[in-house]
Symmetry: C2
Subunit: 277 residues, 2 copies
């Protein structure tokens, strides 16, 4: 049996996958892009030997990253997606008919090209006329854009060249580019494996945004699995959706929206470091 | 770096752990028992090379296996725990002062002995005077006991010698030994990795019990992580707790009780196989 072992940072369990084929392997300007085939997950894309997306379970991550913020906002028109070169987040954003413009800021164009060739069900939406692809650093882009309703960071792990997307300077720039109902959402790794990082991000965002919260979803492939999303808003409470669920989702719905946030008691214990764990 | 790779059945991702030490290794009559030390999880017990319990995260599993059923019941006195030789489930059961008797049915006494020596914070409660240890097959025990308020199966994976604890014959015998408010709970593996099995158990329990439901919790170590618990009851709705949270829990509380069940929409789609995944 041929296997690969993932090199995810700070993972106390190493995950390895059987592979049937290596379909693609190329070093871009930024990272090594690999596409393999696995008997359970289907095609898998790796960046620098870390699993980014699999055909089977990608919808859990993409829907949960996207739809909490998008359904909280009553009428999101101008959206920024930073990272997410596979196109899954853009696909979910475009399920909302009110969307007029998606700035798709992926620094590595090779990731988009690879996804379009090997993951058409994920990347198919990036050619939509509402999508403006800009292959540049998201940390620079947020300084030059205005009037954004929802800004989504769909980056690689926090360590590495995505680090600039988790700095206070970046968070302040995000706040500056949002409208008064604007919402920002980003993944912050796993509550099981990276609890300190999850807590740190909550505290740093609270120093900048008036409303900061945390929701989770159990994923199959990202190490630690209990995946945490930080959501920050200028005025709207992200625990309350303002519109019925768009059509086409496979996991997200209004009930999931109501259930995915940490309970108030657990959240309080978590961010005040009163959890003995 | 010294590592071991787990041999979990039906796991499309193989998990491997760094180890500092092998503390114990012995073949019992039933299985090979190993205790290792890991820099993140602390001590880990393996049975036939499958991780059963780790010092760091065991409380998530033991609390969630135990306290939903125990808090649903208004006054549970007679409890059966089948399996769970590490003692964690018995420890959680005994947090309820109303408990008078715990029949602790672990087929392999060597597991209990190993836990008492290497995991005293987990196994410490098994010497409580209310606990009656019976080293026998749980499938036989349920045929000879009566008037049980809560019956908990804390077994190894469904495949292997725990198979008899997931048969219709066993489920019928469990029903027969419960009081009219009785509740039965068992783990049914991972929603991410063993969805068919999770669904099958729900349908089979529905053929025997009037009330059957499903709740989940994200675990750090069991493969697939999104761990599913089947709960079956003769009269009480397990979504509704009847008593305030006992003291001493680290994760479970009344809010978590209210949130851990699948949403009605997702549950309905799941068990009717209307999920495209």
């Amino acid at each position: 049996m041929i296997r690969f072992s993932e090199s995810a940072p700070f993972s106390p369990i190493s995950y390895s996958y059987e592979i049937d084929n290596i379909l693609y392997k190329k070093k871009s300007q930024y990272q090594e892009i690999i596409v393999v085939e696995n008997p359970y997950f289907g095609k898998i894309m790796l960046l620098d030997n870390v699993v980014q997306v699999t055909e089977r379970d990608e919808f859990f991550y993409h829907e949960m990253l996207t739809h909490i913020a998008m359904h909280t906002h009553p009428n999101p028109k101008n959206i920024v997606v930073i990272g997410g070169g596979d196109g899954g987040t853009v696909r979910e954003v475009l399920r909302h008919d009110c969307v007029e413009r998606v700035y798709f800021i992926e620094i590595d164009k090779e990731v988009i090209n690879t996804a379009k060739e090997y993951f058409p069900t994920i990347a198919g939406a990036v050619d939509d006329l509402r999508v403006l692809i800009k292959p540049m650093d998201g940390a620079l882009f947020v300084k030059e854009v205005k009037d954004i309703d929802v800004l989504i960071v769909d980056s690689t792990d926090i360590i590495g060249f995505a680090e600039s997307l988790f700095s206070d300077e970046f968070f302040r720039a995000v706040k500056g580019c949002l409208t008064k109902n604007g919402i920002f959402v980003t993944h912050t790794e796993s509550l099981h494996f990276h609890k300190k990082m999850v807590i740190e991000m909550q505290h740093r965002l609270k120093g900048i945004f008036p409303i900061v919260d945390l929701y989770t979803t159990p994923l199959a492939t990202y190490p630690g699995n209990w995946w945490a999303f930080a959501i920050a808003s200028l005025s709207l409470n992200p625990r309350v959706y303002s519109r019925p669920c768009v059509s086409g989702t496979r996991y997200y719905d209004s009930e999931i929206h109501g259930q995915c946030f940490l309970t108030k008691g657990f959240y309080d214990k978590l961010i005040n470091n009163r959890l003995d764990w």
